[in-house]
Amino acid sequence: MLRIVFQAAFLTAVVAVLLYLLDNLVYNLERLGFPTGLDSLDYLRQSAGFAIPNSDFRSSQSLLDALIVGVQNTAKVSLLGIVLATVLGVVVGVARLSSNWLVRRGAAAYVEGFRNVPVLIIIVFLWLGVFLQLPPIGRAVEFLDIVVLSNRGLVVPWFDKVGSGAAFGLVAVVGLLLAAAVWIWRTRRFDRTGQPHRRFLWAGGILLGVLAVGFFATGRPWVLATPERGELSTAGGFRLAPEYAALLLGLTLYTASHIAEIVRGSILGVARGQSEAANAVGLSGFQRLRFVVLPQAFRISIPPVANQYLNLVKNSSLGVAVSYYEVTKITQVSISQRAPAVQAILVLMAIYLVFSLSIAFVTNLINRRMTLKGR
């Protein structure tokens, strides 16, 4: 009984405080002429009034469209960042345990160097101190006529779309399904007969084959375009804008230093006896790492690494400091363009919550599958 009374009182107090703040909010918003009721999100349909660099977005499109572009840009930098940071982090983490003194110490210096500096400073430094200090386009550095590096960014050859991609997309899906089927078949066969499965070779070969045949069969929908340097800009190829490059590289370097520590800890967390047993049954150094140590270390490291992925997604909001137009930058710009600040910030927080909760959900699923049963 006392518990219920106390909880009711607690809830009343919390709700009262929230209502009080909400009341003030509504009052202040109305005083300044912002809509507050059901139409308070109508501002999303107004035209944005600003253009987004490196996209097809025009200033006459709505703020909602701008936010969608922002979410795409956040995803673009986050996904690539996660992949790169994982690769670099695992390499550095393993290097920290190398028997080679120089490699070990070098990796340690990298980790301690990047872990203890604010990620914002790394990103701003890469932007202002590295990428924008590159020579202007007129004196751009070119490598073999295929890569152009200047303070407008890095331009690399890329595929130009000339035909319809839909048919090829269909072929790609079929190829993926085929590869998956072959993967399962090889695995089952291995389970049954114990003969080497080589499923990676099989599935990868089939996928590549299907893609190659499909590419020519659908009439070569893409051609490779090398960048052509003009007076003020480059044409063709894919341009890595300095903002994007700085944010991506900064996030990668910073997050990799954290992942490296997790990888190192996880490898050390695998019982010594496991390594010794692997040596005793005559596995090579690589086999020991690949089949005994890393699978177990991987399992330990899932939760903390997932946490780092989450941090990376959240840190991608620092694009706001280098004018990379992800959701936070777009929110900031739209507030300066007279969008209602309160709603814009709440929408921003909601977007990030969706990001965070979905990543947390996926990693929980993986984690549940990977943890050993019955202990």
Partner: protein
């Protein structure tokens, strides 16, 4: 993780082979040129490292134009803090140093006494004291080097000396933890009053590194009690209380700090009733940092609470203690001792994260570093590299020093783990 070995007695720790002193040649064979692959790796990697070290060394000691830092060192430290009132900052430091030293000394003495009681006293580490303070000393030396001021050097030495005196007094006088904390708190209050009271400068006009430190320390101190309450709420058996606390924690852990800072900068003004002036930007940033950090502190403290064995609580219940007293007297002291390293880690994060307030326009260390490159004497000369390296160095020495100290603390606390 691995196979569990079920033995009745704990396995004796394997005896370590005696350390063999290697000649430099043997050492190199073992650590650098063990195999062909190793040799190739060493040479390739060595070339890269040598090139990096050469480039960095050449830049720092030859090419860099550090004049911009020398001329702006006061700017970088305090930004637009009125120069006539700078004596207040020095006076505050002169008060702060002995009281903090006293606190550290008491903590060291208490820990030592406990270790002796539990019969696991580590040998005193006198030789390493200088090494331990290495990064901090490096930072102070570099700052003084740039300041090139006799007065500042003298005052810094005085601050250091007073801190040392406080430390040794703290080790001798055996005060209880609570009283020592009071001494430290008194020092902080007096220092704060010295800066702000009677014609002083309120925190809304602080800037530079001083603002960075203020936001980090103020943020963690204010977030701590809030975070403890949230952690207790999350562990509560009352579903409503638990739900509210979980919602708060997950909300603030799910959004980036910059979104919370935007909330502080743009939204707080809207939440106040009519007639209330919007607090200054520094205050709003501080509120945002506290709201954000509290969620993380709550999760750290929750970890500590979970680590307290249930037997402790059951024993207290058997003795007839009330739930409130069990929490305050039995659970919290044990939990808080184990979460200290986690809290230090959170403090380091916060220290680095304060750089984000630059985005909402506060002139803390990072923002000053960017602004000074726009001065007429220095504009458009690419000096941003020098200033950002300086800022990164200040953050790095601070964060690295604290993280090393916290690892050391963790090891020492870990010795007493059940």
């Amino acid at each position: 993780m691995a196979t569990r070995v079920d033995t009745l007695e704990p396995m004796p720790a394997p005896e370590r082979p005696p350390e063999r002193r290697l000649s430099p040649r043997e050492w190199m064979r073992e650590n650098l040129f063990g195999s062909w692959l190793d040799t190739i790796l060493t040479i390739a990697f060595g070339l890269v490292v040598a090139w990096l070290v050469y480039r960095l060394g050449k830049f720092v000691f030859v090419d860099a134009r550090w004049e911009i830092i020398e001329r702006n060192i006061t700017n970088l430290m305090v930004s637009r803090f009125p120069r006539d009132e700078l004596w207040r900052v020095w006076a505050a430091l002169l008060v702060l140093a002995p009281s903090l030293g006293f606190g550290a000394g008491t903590a060291a003495a208490t820990r030592r006494r406990r270790e002796v009681e539990e019969g696991r006293a580590a040998p005193p580490e006198r030789a390493s004291a200088l090494r331990r303070a290495g990064p901090a000393l490096l930072l102070v030396t570099v700052l003084l080097w740039f300041a090139q001021s006799f007065q500042a050097t003298l005052l810094t030495l005085a601050v250091g000396a007073l801190g040392a005196v406080g430390y040794f007094v703290g080790r001798r006088v055996s005060l209880s933890g609570a009283r020592a904390a009071l001494v430290v708190l008194a020092g902080i209050v007096v220092a704060y009053l010295l800066v702000t009271a009677s014609g002083g400068v309120g925190w809304e006009d602080w800037g530079g590194f001083m603002l960075t430190v203020f936001l980090a320390v103020g943020g963690i101190l204010l977030a701590f009690p809030f975070g403890v309450l949230l952690a207790l709420g999350r562990r509560s058996t009352l579903p409503v209380v638990r739900a509210v606390c979980v919602a708060y924690i997950e909300l603030f852990r799910g959004v980036p700090l910059i979104a919370v800072l935007f909330m502080g900068a743009f939204m707080i003004g809207f939440l106040l009733p009519q007639g209330f002036d919007r607090p200054s930007l520094v205050t709003r940033a501080l509120i945002a940092l506290v709201l954000f950090t509290a969620a993380y502190v709550a999760e750290i403290v929750r970890g500590g609470l979970q680590g307290v064995p249930t037997g402790q609580i059951e024993a207290a219940q058997a003795l007839g203690l009330s739930p409130v007293r069990i929490t305050i007297r039995i659970v919290m002291p044990q939990a808080l001792r184990t979460v200290i390293p986690g809290l230090v880690g959170q403090f380091i994060s916060l220290f680095k994260d304060t750089s984000l307030v630059a985005i909402i326009g506060l002139t803390e260390l990072l923002n000053v570093s960017r602004n000074i490159t726009a001065q007429p004497d220095f504009i458009a000369q690419g000096l941003i590299i020098e200033t950002l390296i300086f800022a990164a160095f200040v953050y790095w020495t601070g964060a690295y020093w604290m993280s090393r100290e916290s690892q050391r603390l963790e090891r020492r606390l870990g010795l007493g783990e059940r």
